[in-house]
Symmetry: C2
Subunit: 318 residues, 2 copies
DNA sequence: CTGAAAGCGCTTACAG
DNA sequence: CTGAAAGCGCTTACAG
């Protein structure tokens, strides 16, 4: 048994006789032999590992994203080296590790600086952003159309005769929150309505505090809360009902964004925009692996429309 | 510059003069050089990668576990190769990949067969289970004491004069669900109370169906629901309130298990057992890495008590 | 303290 | 179709 013969046996399409193949396979079975993917990667310069960098692991949306990613990549025999960031600024720490592990590509749900993006390019590591868009050239991304989703929600609330809006944003360093908040505010500024902005951090608890802040403001009595994610919208509904006896949606309408599982729970039945996670993940994986195969493929940004979910937390027209 | 000099420069404690070190570091900075961890792993037989295998990614508990794991392992410069299983039986597929990637160890929140455990041992790959216990020798595990947690909940419900219990289990192939259900049922069988068992799958939707099933059963009118996880407990509360106008906890008490974020939401304020995730993860990481360093260290099972959270979904005594 | 050499487990032209 | 040889980028005795 030569080394080469064994190697060819595990390489699909290599020229090898049925006889040698049988011999190798038998021995492999007896010894429990599996080719060493690390050594293979060293010579082929393909590790079949992709780094997944996520900065908001607490976002309820992310387990689904991660498990979809694992499924889609797994189908193509690609593995995930996982990096969850506690703070957005830890990107550099993660990237240092990424270089060392010779990953084939990066899927990032985190904010990169221009230098960080350039560093990936310099090293020839394809990079696809998930739910971040960059205006600069040559950056691939899949993204849910946050601005348009917010626009749809606001249209509905407006034709519902809502006049006094609260827009609740997420963490200041979250690009997703910024996009959503900006989408909502931009549309609202075109109308003659009152607008108050408050800053949460995506968490239920932060929404509770924001609602207290709003409700203790004299001279402003809101009739609609527009929240940057579902978790905060849920926090709003609970606080309004339990602490202020407000009827939702009769007195105040509440809308969220994401389409997490809890949005459909009977206590909330949230009006929200559902991100097409499956399609987004599929697109991200395809775009990344295409560019791994062929580095001449140009960058591309794909924007997916979210789907309006009409719940009873805000009775919009269909 | 010899290869050896560069190598020593990146190895802490190696004998190298300040002068050469400076020269190497300067060059490294200019070229953006980082040692290739893959090649290093090939020769040192240490990849600094740990496989994390999770079979219930939909469990709301798991994002926190994963992000804690990442933090704890990251502190020790160890990385996570992630495997999420859609079905418990995919363990073999995951393990095949695990062998190829020469991981240093495995953390598994999934059910392994005796053969699968033996395969890890044969290959000398340390294995620590998370929230699974095995009675066989030589298996390391950290686990929340599910049975004792259930016992505490049941004691409380009993001293509350509850008489007609529903125990709702999770998926049949989940060891965690089995342990919890068995803990509850064992304790209940010691008392003169009525008991009905129903089978959910950990999801909110399955709890809704279970409640319908129970409430349409003539001759049985429950006054306590004991659910194998928080998500189902939440589904119970919602269904009881919205579909049957039941007062929780006055008419029917509901308890869960896990201590997920939503348990504290105002609409639920769940009585549940909180898993000490931080401590459990810390223990799992320590146990695994100890055994990576020194394979003579014997296996160990560590059982952590869960902490009772007294919410208003069941008014237990303190 | 430093460098030349061997070797980790693979793949891949190259000759036969 | 098959095997010997070179080489991927490292680390680590070994000599100097």
């Amino acid at each position: 048994m030569s080394q080469s013969a064994v190697s060819r046996c595990f390489k699909p399409g290599a020229s090898i006789s049925a006889k040698t193949r049988a011999k190798v396979e038998k021995a492999a079975r007896q010894l429990g032999y599996q080719p060493n993917a690390i050594a293979r990667g060293l010579i082929t310069r393909r590790s079949n590992i992709v780094a997944v960098i996520i900065s908001e692991p607490t976002n309820l949306n992310y387990p689904e994203v991660l498990s979809q990613l694992n499924r889609r990549l797994g189908e193509r025999q690609v593995h995930i080296l996982l990096f969850t960031l506690s703070r957005e600024r830890d990107v550099n720490l993660a990237l240092d590790q990424v270089w060392q592990y010779q990953v084939d590509g990066i899927i990032a749900a985190a904010q990169f600086t221009a230098e960080q993006i350039a560093a990936c390019e310099d090293r020839g590591i394809p990079l696809v952003f998930y739910n971040r868009v960059y205006t600069q050239q040559g950056v691939s991304a899949v993204c849910c159309d946050h601005a348009d989703g917010e626009r749809q929600l606001i249209e509905g609330l407006l034709s519902n005769k809502r006049k006094n809006f609260v827009v609740m944003s997420g963490p200041a360093d979250s690009a997703v929150s910024t996009a959503r908040t900006k989408g909502a505010v931009t549309r609202l500024k075109q109308e003659k309505v009152n607008l108050m902005q408050v800053a949460g951090d995506y968490s239920y608890e932060s929404a509770v505090e924001c609602v207290h802040e709003v409700m203790s403001t004299k001279k402003f009595s809101p009739d609609a809360f527009v929240c940057a994610n579902d978790t905060m919208a849920i926090g709003c509904i609970d606080t309004l009902r339990h602490d202020y006896g407000v009827a939702v949606p009769k007195d105040i309408a509440v809308v969220g964004f994401d389409g997490v599982g809890a949005a459909a729970w009977l206590s909330y039945d949230l009006t929200t925009v559902v991100q097409p996670v499956q399609r987004m993940v599929e697109a991200a994986v395809n775009m990344l692996l295409e560019r791994v195969e062929d580095d001449s493929i140009p960058a591309e940004t794909r924007l997916f429309a979210g789907q309006l979910r009409l719940g009873s937390s805000a009775q919009l027209e269909a």
